[in-house]
Symmetry: none
Subunit: 418 residues, 2 copies
């Protein structure tokens, strides 16, 4: 146990039955880490007095600050206050201050107070209530054997507001200021995690910089972390070293998505594009058009499932499809060149492939995908063999297409700066 | 402690820094509850050997089954196996069986194995490896002091597959069969939650059936639950009552997505469609083509951002756009009719609107969307005013379009049965 350990205890049957995903822990963790604090652990238990009480007993012995969420409502399965009283050996009594808060909440809204709301003022004897502006349930705070416990409602919006307004300031008073952790994330595409790790110049990285990885299929997220007052400088140094080795594979950074980055680069480069999608069925167009201002670069996209659509809109000759098939290098090339001829955009990207589950052959198994890019410098086509189910093949094809666009736009921007 | 307590321990710095929300606990909880089991508690700790080890020591004393996820990767911050060895007082050794699994994984993919992958075979001495078909990291299983521990990778898809294939069957052998909770989910579109609640015939519902709600924007999920040996019968009765009131608003059921349901109905009805999307930018095409066999009903889709694309592919007259604007009832109608004329599909659906953030006017604010459906019985157009940001407007438009297609296909199927 270090000096300032913080734990979160969430309560609720739904959290352990799979009906609801706990977001409160993540919210608290995120706010804490913005202020330089770290959660030591989080725990979830059902709405049972015995379980809540056991968890509290365990945590009181292990950490210094405990944030409990849930079970403060007015219904029968709201048992947190009773469990806390039991775990901490206190009586449960009507807290007059809390009762007044509840009354005022109803007065302020001109609504009658139900008798069941009075239950919400039944708190452990030595609890101090915490005001809740957004709901009827006051929170409360208890000091016990050198441990500080905060009890907040489970409704995410109420919990968050109370945590920020009532709990965080107390933590900041009690825990000496820490230099917040700084972190930079780099999203890499096209290299497996072990390969990326082997390319990181660990020995040259400045001391105090931590490296971590996360997977966000099909991306690998590389994280550089540092604490302290020179964290920014250390990260700058580390970043420069990492960029030298891996820079070209970084498809996006921090909170940005690959498609947002590509949209930004296309816009900066002033490039216009048109798309011809077969096996991705509009996924590439849809991730790009999710970006505000997509009309600056995207002229149009064709989802050409039927061969007739490839003929009409992309001017792919029927004979070409008959001879080589719709999933072929020739067809991809013809799709890109045909559409570019119609639209006159700077770039035209075409994707044709077999996403599965059906349609694979020995020569062209499921996952066979051709990508073609037509640009002023000609047409480039490549065959890929992606693995996984339909959704994975569609996703990989889309990310690969984004990567082609990203690299093209980057080259354009770089050549202009020369 | 009851006889069959199950706990989940998730590991990962990201879970306690707010970077990542833990979904593994929810997945396991949901699968368990489908089989009548309940989680007793869940715990999250950072990627630190000491913390993982302390959590394991605590859990071993409290529950009978422990499922651990995360920290089995090949990089330096993957410390679960070492922590387990320490907590359980076992040496950490290369497990030959696990090593062979890793080798085979690479052989099967014709890819070279990195030396760091060997680390993934370093398991506690008495661990039995569990095969992982979807990644390099084998899981493992250890029996210790009457407690059974399962270690699975943290990647959600790998974790889920291994839990279902390797862990669940063991739990089912060891834990006497229980009458599982039965649950049916109905996804409703187009009605707010309080309205849905007011339409439920609570008084007529058979005793023992519970009703619950969840939000999955823009859908409301209505849940009916019952336990015991007559659960199926009770739910049948309740379902019949609910269907009478709400049946027409149910866009999908249980695990099915609205788009999967629409794809199924279009296929059953033998209807072919073509799409013209402007503000949704291919989102409708992409959710439909995510479904296997989409080529049975989808002929093609046009993402016509530029007016020139609306003219070329959809035969929308330039004058019409000049007079009424691209976001107008007339344009939506012309898009649908023009494309249907070209493709000859049974249905053509067109969407044009202002998704934002820019482009809104007083007459046509952001969220103004026109949907048109051309069918053998004519063209139907409607204006909507959706609220929310770009992503919400795109999503609402897409769901609304799906709802149009669903209702059309249903009417077709019903009229044939008459």
């Amino acid at each position: 146990m270090t000096a300032f350990d913080i734990a979160v205890l969430t309560t609720g049957d739904e959290l352990l039955s799979g009906e609801l995903t706990d977001t409160n822990t993540g919210t608290i963790a995120e706010i804490l880490s913005r202020h330089g604090y770290r959660l030591r652990c989080s725990l979830s238990v059902p709405d049972q007095e015995k379980e809540i009480s056991a968890a509290l007993t365990y945590l009181v012995g292990h950490v210094q600050f405990i944030i409990v969420t849930g079970g403060l409502g007015s219904t029968g399965d709201d048992l947190t206050a009773r469990a806390a009283a039991r775990a901490l050996g206190q009586a449960q009594v009507i807290n007059e201050e809390a009762l007044e808060m509840i009354r005022q909440w109803f007065v302020g809204r001109n609504r009658p107070m139900e008798p069941s709301n009075e239950r919400q003022a039944l708190l452990p004897q030595w609890a101090k209530p915490l005001a809740n502006r957004y709901g009827t349930a006051p929170g409360f705070r208890i000091q016990h054997q050198g441990c500080e416990l905060f009890f907040l409602p489970g409704v995410p919006s109420e919990m968050k507001a109370m945590f920020e307004q009532a709990v965080l300031p107390i933590l900041q008073q009690k825990i000496p200021e820490v230099a917040p952790l700084q972190q930079r994330n780099y999203k890499l595409f096209g290299l497996p995690e072990p390969r990326i790790e082997s390319m990181i110049p660990y020995r040259q990285l400045p001391q105090g910089v931590d490296v971590a990885f996360a997977l966000d299929y099909p991306l690998v997220v590389l994280k550089l972390k540092a604490t302290g007052h020179d964290a920014g400088e250390l990260l700058d140094q580390a970043e420069a070293l990492v960029m030298k080795e891996l820079g070209e594979h970084i498809i996006a950074r921090d909170g940005e998505s690959p498609e947002a980055n590509v949209a930004k680069l296309l816009t900066h480069a002033g490039l216009t594009i048109s798309l011809a999608e077969s096996c991705t069925g509009g996924l590439l167009a849809s991730v790009l058009t999710r970006q505000p201002g997509a009309s600056a670069f995207l002229e149009r996209a064709a989802v050409t499932y039927a061969d007739s659509a490839k003929q009409d809109w992309l001017k792919v000759p029927a004979e070409l499809i008959a001879q080589h098939g719709a999933v072929s290098e020739n067809c991809a090339r013809a799709m890109a060149s045909g559409l570019r001829h119609t639209t006159g955009t700077d770039l035209t990207l075409a994707i044709t492939g077999i996403a599965g589950p059906d349609g694979g052959t020995i020569e062209k198994p499921v996952g066979t995908v051709f990508i073609a890019l037509a640009s002023p410098s000609g047409i480039h086509v490549k065959r890929y063999n992606f693995s996984g189910d339909r959704e994975k093949v569609q996703r990989m094809s889309t990310y690969m297409a984004l990567e082609w666009l990203r690299r093209y736009a980057l080259r354009q921007l770089e050549s202009r700066h020369k």
